[in-house]
Structure formats: structure tokens, C-alpha cells
Symmetry: D2
Subunit: 384 residues, 4 copies
Amino acid sequence: MDKRKLRAGMVGGGIGAFIGPVHRMALQLDNNAEIVAGAFSRDPEKSRQSGAQLHLDPQRIYHDYREMARKEAEVPEEQRFDFVVIVTPNSTHFEIARTFLEHDFHVVCDKPVALTLDQAKSLKKISSDKNRIFMITHAYTGYPMVKQAKQMVKNGELGKILKVVVEYFQGWVPYRLQGKVQGAKTWKFDPQVSGKSLTIADIGIHAENLVRYITGLEIEELCADTTSFLAGHGLEDDGNVLIRYKGETKGVFCASQMSTGERNGLTIRIYGTKKSLAWKQEQPESLLIRDLESFDTVLYKGGPYLHENAKAASRLPGGHPDGLIVAFANLYQEFFQAIRRQMGGGNGSSGDFPNIDDGVKGMSFVETVLESAGSDNKWTRLKM
Amino acid sequence: MDKRKLRAGMVGGGIGAFIGPVHRMALQLDNNAEIVAGAFSRDPEKSRQSGAQLHLDPQRIYHDYREMARKEAEVPEEQRFDFVVIVTPNSTHFEIARTFLEHDFHVVCDKPVALTLDQAKSLKKISSDKNRIFMITHAYTGYPMVKQAKQMVKNGELGKILKVVVEYFQGWVPYRLQGKVQGAKTWKFDPQVSGKSLTIADIGIHAENLVRYITGLEIEELCADTTSFLAGHGLEDDGNVLIRYKGETKGVFCASQMSTGERNGLTIRIYGTKKSLAWKQEQPESLLIRDLESFDTVLYKGGPYLHENAKAASRLPGGHPDGLIVAFANLYQEFFQAIRRQMGGGNGSSGDFPNIDDGVKGMSFVETVLESAGSDNKWTRLKM
Amino acid sequence: MDKRKLRAGMVGGGIGAFIGPVHRMALQLDNNAEIVAGAFSRDPEKSRQSGAQLHLDPQRIYHDYREMARKEAEVPEEQRFDFVVIVTPNSTHFEIARTFLEHDFHVVCDKPVALTLDQAKSLKKISSDKNRIFMITHAYTGYPMVKQAKQMVKNGELGKILKVVVEYFQGWVPYRLQGKVQGAKTWKFDPQVSGKSLTIADIGIHAENLVRYITGLEIEELCADTTSFLAGHGLEDDGNVLIRYKGETKGVFCASQMSTGERNGLTIRIYGTKKSLAWKQEQPESLLIRDLESFDTVLYKGGPYLHENAKAASRLPGGHPDGLIVAFANLYQEFFQAIRRQMGGGNGSSGDFPNIDDGVKGMSFVETVLESAGSDNKWTRLKM
Amino acid sequence: MDKRKLRAGMVGGGIGAFIGPVHRMALQLDNNAEIVAGAFSRDPEKSRQSGAQLHLDPQRIYHDYREMARKEAEVPEEQRFDFVVIVTPNSTHFEIARTFLEHDFHVVCDKPVALTLDQAKSLKKISSDKNRIFMITHAYTGYPMVKQAKQMVKNGELGKILKVVVEYFQGWVPYRLQGKVQGAKTWKFDPQVSGKSLTIADIGIHAENLVRYITGLEIEELCADTTSFLAGHGLEDDGNVLIRYKGETKGVFCASQMSTGERNGLTIRIYGTKKSLAWKQEQPESLLIRDLESFDTVLYKGGPYLHENAKAASRLPGGHPDGLIVAFANLYQEFFQAIRRQMGGGNGSSGDFPNIDDGVKGMSFVETVLESAGSDNKWTRLKM
């Protein structure tokens, strides 16, 4: 196995961006990868400054991702980057990802991977044809206690899953509408950039992905009620969905960005015939397990009683908070291992990270919610 | 104003019952009322023993509520009880309440007040015709912090209410189905006794009432998905409802008695344009207020900053838990004041306690949920 | 066994008082006792009004406790009260308790039972000579989860107890000093009424009693640092104590009434060789158990897994808060059983309630803390 | 200002170590520094492998820190590392730090900086003589909400500080004694390696530093009771200390590593005349502020209402946990700025990071606690 550091290029994430730096911290955290090139902004000067802050070779700082893809594909293999990280506004994900796949790079892309289900399917086909690995950063699945939850469900520790309640509540939209949030999120109100959905595409698909990651449940049909409470732009800022999963499990799904005072309230509760579990992203290092007749138990990151994959996903002992950057880094570590497996002639297509299948399913969820909401809130079968 | 202790009769609540003793503790807590008669069980011996434990005059212990109503109506006024407390299984509420109203007693009745909307309306008519005061014990509205929440909404402190999320989760059904719960709740699985609804009628209407108490919102239409996960009796043990209130407020409502490990998880979150609030029944003495741009605040029972009605509803200072019996007692105190106002020639029909209107609206909600769930989960306008 | 209601007299607790009404609610909660006489205030008119509110026979309302003791002792036995409840300022406890003991009444007295250790010992001797039952209302020991904790320690579930950390933090002193608290607590600043100690005698002895109740540990020696931060009266409003218990257990004890913002923060943590436990009075219905290598567990009131005495101490199921009045009532229930046992010819001296021994030990603790603090904070052996 | 990446050497932190990787993640997190050399283990092969994992030049991997210091001092300036990071067992800190200072490197050293107060003073003198910057990684001071707390105290928002309660509770000692913890912490039981103190030196000084960082309070005298409950080696695993700060503030300090079930329970409560604050390291992103008469407020990382230095110390928005690695990284960022200021001819001696003065004061605290505990627990003035 090749033990050199993996090399990354980045598109987006220039000075002032929020998520670009998080990706950089995460991918470099364990000293297994480094950024070597980037098109950090369409503004040449801003891109140059951003790259300089990262101590990059000026020759490898671009302002046009197409030029970057083309030129970097010609760099000698021992210097060429292995994968690109796409941290641009939603509307550009599809084209950028396609471009780099076509130049034979592995891809890491922020959610949503595309603006439409068809685009997502198209990316899936290209990445398959090109045998490239495609990771989507549903980073919350990188938390140790989420992995613990997944393993407990898989082991049958909860019994049969009867019901899932997931919610993702933020409150920045009203705040933004008072002109009090600057910067990166402004484009989210623009359908040209953001696509047909604000909240479902922005955070709802994290919640949908989290349910699927932990439980493996697939949606059969759903009934959605979405609202544009505050936005004044026709995009929904709140959506509530009743869900029927295959296998007779029921679901309640709520996503909102108009929930005054909420920070980043992603929570999930799963009720089985034997036990239930509850997890809150804002306090990610504990997992509440409840029982029919016994006391509540609280599992903590770092506990000797955790399943192996949960143990492996922390950097610090129990009681020393790891945080979300480590969750992000866990995704990258899995992605790196997939790349190395493929480099070694093995199979890079699977691994414990969200991939293009998750991207397709996420867009399928978004489009089905919009269709239900747009057709008098009828029960609607999942679009495929 | 007559300052003697008010006198109560009780139907149900014999030895081994759960809610009967709670009513007795609550109504006597402030030393303003006492039980003087009762039909505690249809079993004469059990009723007799129950009454003896309460140190009652053996002449005023019955086993047939009709006999009790008839005989007690003939007791001299200075000994006759003022109101009856009905704590029997659901199916009997209607007949018992009607009987005592017809004998000119004020009535306190456990929820649901009847098995059908029509019955509830009928009780409303009789109590109005007879000018009798009718209280339904939605006791959670008696908590100080619920009163604080109501006042804050009323004062506009939250701005316009955009969305309400209410849930009431219990987990005793699976436990019961393993034969591990004895006693009072067994009849709840029997549609002959419980009515057409298990969970919505048992606890869902508490949640519906809580929303209405705090916000004053009226339901316009709803879409419900109910499930009989575990019961094996055709009654629902889980129901999730999307709600549209009049005035463009949206709602999410979840009630469940199959949620493994949950105790008595009634929680409400209300999102306004200025602030949001969250309250949890299991920790009833605090109220979380969140703001668009400011820090979270936590209000506590006993705080000098509370509204007057919230202050008046506690017995102990902050940090000394009052508990649910005090919330119950607060309802009774308001009910007593209404009785005394009427005795004094004033108006007894209103007051800060849940009355027969709440009973009608609760049954309206139950029937609308069942109708939506039974008609392919269509959006359904509130039955009137 | 005599199943009539027990009868109580009360000294103190007139209109406007805080703790008097709590005692009345608690002693009457389970319908086993009632107030029949009282001297509610030294002001005749105020006492009369207070008694009238309680619907008492005007002949049995007094303003002089000596007169009350003398006259009530002559009331026919079938009407005479069985026990007196003393809820007056600290300085009067001793004389009132002695008076009623000498007239052969059982006694319930608020803490501290006296102003000095010698007085407490004197009361112990009199109650023993007179064979009267003496309860001191350390009400926190009436909570179900405190009883659970006691039983777990007794059963060895924690292993050997190594260390106890107890704290009781209130914040009303600075608030009071700004003139913002009215009423009952004013006399607490007056050494003539309150005695030599403010905070240790007022709340510290609750904390000391709680440790002793749960663990059975006896203090060997201690080192105390007390401070009069704010009071301007020479009484301490804060005290911190290092403790050595017999048997090599260590303790940390903190009590304070100047801790800005604290409501009624009584908490205890007990560390054993196998497990530890933590309990917080402000959330009294849960008990945190931690383990060397296993997950945390949280036990709840009402759980089927609790020890029998913890189960027996609740009125409502899990998730329905009982509150402090129920804890108080639990003490009274145990006290009543002791009285009935004695009436039946059995032994009334023991029972699961705090008695005059606890009163003596509490005063012993107060005097030892003051001695250590007053002698240059030296380590001081427990006064006996 | 020189904008190149700063270069680091590391001593200790080889494969299997706990804190070494944390330092590496933290110092590289913001892409401003990199490891270029190291002596990761005294075992040459282990050091080589550790360095290879970090992709280091084999020429710059050592197994003897003296050789490393000597050789690296001769490396051309444009490749020479700027500072050394010392993450070895306690007993070696002093010699290693001295060695690198004498070779003119800046130093980052884990706590405790030395085994004795004299050694710490000696390091202070050398670093001053050599004009080298010396950081000690009391990382908890890097959390945003700790910086917020410091600023609030400084601004007088709490009023005069009356009392501080700090505790640091861990439970790994009993676990370790059952042979269940492997690896790095074994040497902590060996006085030859660990020094005269186990718990006070290992974690107590973090707590002491935290108090000083937030409040600026200096200890006048203290009374300590330490215990070796479980260790079987003569080192204390528990220590409780009553403290008198200069200016009439009182303190309670508890540190323990035998507290079964505790993970990393560092908490601080500060009571002022106007407000109080409470912070818990295990939930580091919130800060509880309490008031004499107003509601509780909870401040969160990322809030627009925070002081500037608290805002600047986060990488992610509110509700997205940053974790301890970010707190560590905040220390490094301040340290880097000091280095760059000095490179630019400015003053590198101050900055918002713990420095050698903190090291001296920490050792002063350790020695004073041991002296008090060893002299019959007498009140003892802080050693200077």
C-alpha cells in the first residue's frame, strides 16, 4: 500500500468561506493528505491570495476550475493530486464534479451533489464508468456515537425498528432576513444558485442520510407539507414529512431554517421493539439508550463498551470533546483507505463513507418531497 | 363569598386506582375542599373499604353512581356535596357526567370527557342548560411555566407564531403487551371501554389541549397517519399528524404509547418571528426561551421575573419542585373560585381551567384524526 | 391498629408563612391526618384568621403556645391532637418542643431543632423520658431516589465508599440584602432569633443529614472555613469544610447562601470502589450511577428496577413529577406509622424518618464547624 | 511579518502515544505550521517508524533529544525548526526544555513543566535570558467560552468575585489498578517519572490555571487534604483544598483521579456580587450565567453577543462542536503570533497563551498543596 500523503485539489473555499477551511482541517488532520492545488475563487486575485495563505505553489493556483482540471491532469503522476474537493455553491457542484471525473480524479463534493435527481444519476454513471471514488460529505455520519448507533441497530440490539423521528432545526433564515448574516449563505436564497429547494436540499438531506446510515431503511412513500414562511423567494424554509419506510416502519421528518433560536439542532430518535435510542448532534459524544423495563443508559465516546468502529472514530479519550472536524476527518480517512485500496488493485467503491449512491438517494428524497408538497400534499411514492 | 370548605363526591378511584388518589390529593391540597361521599367501585365491598380508608360516613358510600346522584341530591344543602369528580374508565364518563349534571351538581371529569364528539356536545348543552360548571382535568395546563408560556404568547413576546411542534411519547404499550403492567390500564386496550381511539384519546388530547391553551390556535385541517404497532386490538398506539392552524401557522403533532423507554414525554416547542419557547413536562419548572440573535434564557418557577399568573401557581419557592399534584391543585383552585363566584351570584362559566368547550374540541380533534387516518390519510378539515 | 385520622396541632405557620403551609399539605396529603388546633402567630388576630382559613374550631385557635399545650392536654383523648408541628423561627424551637413533650405530645419540628447542642441533647432526653416520638423535617430524605441511593449503598452496590462531595448552594442572601426579599427570612439575619449560625444551621445541616442518611458515615474530624461575605451581621453566609469520616472516607462539604443565582442547589456525589452516584435535589426524580468501565445509567422514580422502599415513596408513575411536598409527606407517613405502632403497643422510636438523634448530630455538626472556623480553622474532632 | 509556515520539532509522541498526536493535529490545524523533525522515542526503531508515518525526512528523525537539539541547531536557518514540542513523561520535561532553550529554540511543553518549583524557576530564567518563548499547554484555556468568561470577569460583569469552586474529577485510577488501562499512563504511578505528585500535578494544575486565567486571582494561603486511596505507591490520587485568594475571595478546589465513573470532569463556578458563571469542560460550548433576580442565561459558542476574543476562537458556527483540538489549536495560534511578532522585532513574551510564568505558578501550587498535606494539613502560605 502506498504510504505517501495523498494529494488534494480544491475548488471553492477561498478567503472568507466557511466550509472550505473545515474540509482542509479535516483532510489534513491525520497527516495523511495535503492540499497541493486549487481554484479557490473565480476572482483571480482572491484565489491567488487564498492559495498563498495555504503556502501553495503559485503555478497551481487557478481561478477557473476547467483550466485546473485540464492542467493538473497533465502534471506528472507523482505530483498530480489524487482527488478534488468541491466546496462551491450548489448550482455548480454538478458541472465541476463531472469535469474532474472526466479528467480521472476522485471527487469529494459537498451536499447536495447536484440540483436534480437526473444530474445525480448522471454523476453516478460517470464515476462508475471512470471507476472513480465519489464521496459526499454527510459529515454527521462520521461521529463515533452515530457509528455506535448504526452497529447497535445492525446487531438487532433495538429489536425491530418501528418508528424513526428525525429533525433538523436551524434558525438563521429570520436572522438573515433582518440583514444580520453576511457572507456565504446569501446565495442560498437564490433559486438560480440554490436550486428548487432551500431547506430540504440544504439540511434535510443530512437528516435523511442520517436515518438511512443508521437504520438502512428505505423510503416507500411520503406526505410532505413545506412552507416558505419568511424567505420571500419561493423557496421553502420549513418542511414536515410523514414517511412510510419499506417494512412497515413509520417516520416523522422535520427540517426547518426558520426556527428562531435554533442553532444546528439535528436529532434522531429510533424506537425498536426492545430498546430505543436518541442522539443529538449538538451534544454528539453521548448516546441515550432506553429500555422497556430497565433504566436508561448513556453511552459515551471513548467508552470501553463501544463497538469497534465507534472506538476507532475518536482521537481523544472520553470526556475530551472531539468535535465535528474529527467527524469530518473520519469520513476522509475512510475515503483515503478506499483510494489506497484501489491504488493497490483492490476495490475502492465501498467503504464507511457517504458515496454517490447517497447523493442519488438524497436528490430522490428532495424531489419527492417537493412533488408531494406541490401536488396538494398527497402521499407520493419515492421517485427513483 | 362562602368560605366554608367545598364538598366533593367521587365516582371511581377505589383502592388500587391511580388517578383517583391524585384527584383527592389535589382537591384537598389547599384545604379548601374535602371528599364527603363516593361510589368508588361497582363492587360494594371494595367501594365500602375505599370509603372507609377515606374516613367517610358509611351512609355516603355507594357502589352505584345513579343511586349516589339521586340520594345525594336529597341531602340537606348544608351537607350536600357541591361537585362530583369522575375518575372511571372512558366509556362511562358520558353517562355519569350527564347523570350528575341532571341532578344539578358541578362536574369534574377526567379526559376524554366522552367517547364521541356528539356525546361531548350533548354534555356541553346540558351543563349550559343546568348552569353547572364542568372541568376536564388537562392537568398539564396547571403548571406555572405553562401559564408563563401562555402569557408570553398572549403578550406578543414571541412575535407571530409560525410553527408549533408538540409531542407526547409514552412507552408502556409494549411493556404491557409483555404482561408486565398490571391494573388500571388494562381496559385501555378494549374498544368497548376505551372507545375508537387508544393513544389519541388517552394522551393526544392532552397535547392538543396544551397547544390550544398556550397559543389559542384553532386547527383548520390536518393529515394523520396512525398505526397499531403492537396492540393487537385494532386501536392505534401511535399517531403523527401534520396540522394547519387558522392564520397560516403550521403544526407537527406526534403521540405514541409504543415508544420504548419513554416515560411521560410531553413536550412543546413554539416558534415565533421574534422568539421561540420550549417546555418539557418531565422537567416542568423551567422554560427555555430562545432569540434570533441573543443568548438562550431559562426561566424558572419562582422567578421574580415571571408573569403574575405563573407566580401565583406555585406553592414552593424556586428550586423546590412542586410537581404535578400542585398543577392539578391549581386547576381545582380555579374551579373552586368559579363555583364560589357562582354561589355569590357571579359568573362561574369562565376561569383558568379546562372546561366542557375543551372537551368538545378534544373530541373533535380525535374524530378528525381518525377520519383522516381512515380515509387514506387525506387532508381533512376539523370536524365541528 | 387505630385507623382514625391522626390529629395535629401547629405552632407557627400563620398567614404569609412559607413552610407552615407545606407541612399542612404534606401531613394531610394521604388523608391520614388533619390539623385540629394551632397557635399560628403570637398576634391573636393573625392567629385567629389563620385558623379560620383552615376551618378550625375557634376554641382551638391560640396565640400562646403554652396555653395551647396546657389546654389541649386537657381535651378529651378522642379529640386531643396526637402531635404538634413546630414551624416557628429557630430560636423558639427548643422551648416549644420541650413544652409539648412535657405535656405528652409527639413532636414534629423544623430544623434546626435548637440553637445549641446542649439544647438538642436535652430534647433527646425529655422525649426519651416521656416516650414521645420526635421527627425533624429533613425533607430531602423523603425523595424516592434518595431512598434508592441509601439502599444501594447499604447493599454494597457501590463497593466501599471512599469519598463524598456534598454541596448546598443558595443565592438569596445578596438578593435579600438589596431589600428585595420580604417576609419570613428576615429574622434569619438576627442572631437573637437565628442563633450563632446562619447558613450552616439553616441549610448545611440538611446536607450533613443527607450524607448520613444515605451512607451512614459518621464524622471524625473536620476543618472549616466560614465567611460572612455579605450579611453585615456577623453570621456566616458561606462555609466550606474538609471532612474525615470514620473508616477512612473523605468528604468535601460546601454550603452557601451568597451564591448569586443559585436557587436550591443541594447535590451529593458519592464515590465507591465499584460505582459512584450523583443526585441533584432540583431534579430529584433521577439518580445517576456511574461505573468503572461500563456506561452511565440513569435511574428514574417509578422504574420497575428500583428497590422496594424507593418504589413505595412515590404517588405518581415515572415521568409524572411528584415534587417536594410528596417527599415531605413520605416523612409524615413514616412518622404516622411509628405513632400507630406505639399506639398499638409497639415500638415507635425507630422508623424511616429523621428523629431527635439526627437533631443532636446536626447541632453537633454546626457547633464543630463553628469551633473550627473560630479557632483559626484548625482540624477539630466532632463535638459530642 | 514572515508568512511562511512555522516549523516544529517534537520530542516524544511516538506510535501509541496519546497527547503527541493531539499536539500535531492542533499545531497543523490552521495550516500555519508543520513538523519537520523529531525524537519520538528513545527506541531508535520506534522513533524511525513514528517519523516515517509523518512523512519526515529520515535524516531528521532522532532517538536522542540531545543529539536532535545539537544537530538541528546547525541546520540552515531556512530549514531549522522554530520551536520544539515536548510531550514526554513528566520527569524529563525539565532537562529537555532546558536543552532546547540553550540551543535557542522556542519551547512548547506539556504540563507539569518540571518536577519541582525550583526547576520551573530555572526554566523561566533560561527562557528569559535566551529571549525564547515558552508555552505550556493548559489547553482548556483555549476554549471560546473560557475566553468569554475571562472577559466577562475582567469587564466587571460579575461584580466583585467572592468565591470560586473548581473541580477536576477523573476516574481512571481504580480502572487502571484493575489492569484495564494500557499504555501511556502507566508511568504516572512511578514517583521516579511522575514526581512527588500524581493527581495535583497531572490535572490539578489545569484547574488551578483555569481559575487564574479566568479571574486573575492569586492564592494567598491554602489548607489541603490529599489521599492515596488506591494507588499503592504513595502518590496522592485525590486532593481537596480550601483556598484564600488575595483580596478576600474564597476558593474550594477538588481534584481526583479515583472518582469512579468520572471521565474528564473539569468544572468551574465563579460567584460574584452581581452574577455568577458556570462552565463544564465536557460541554465546553456553553456558559451558564446566573443573576441575582433575573432568569438564567446560557451563552453559546458562535453567538453574535460574545466578546471578540471568544468569537475569534472558534472554527465552526454555533451548534457545530469545535472540540478540544480546536482549543489546543487556539493556543498554538497565539503562540505562533508571538513568534512572528518576535521575528518582526516585536515583543514575543506576552500573548493569550499559558507561558512559563504559569508553569512556575503551577509548580508553586503543587508544592504548597503537598506541604500543607504533609504538615498535618495546616494552612500554608503559597510558596514563592
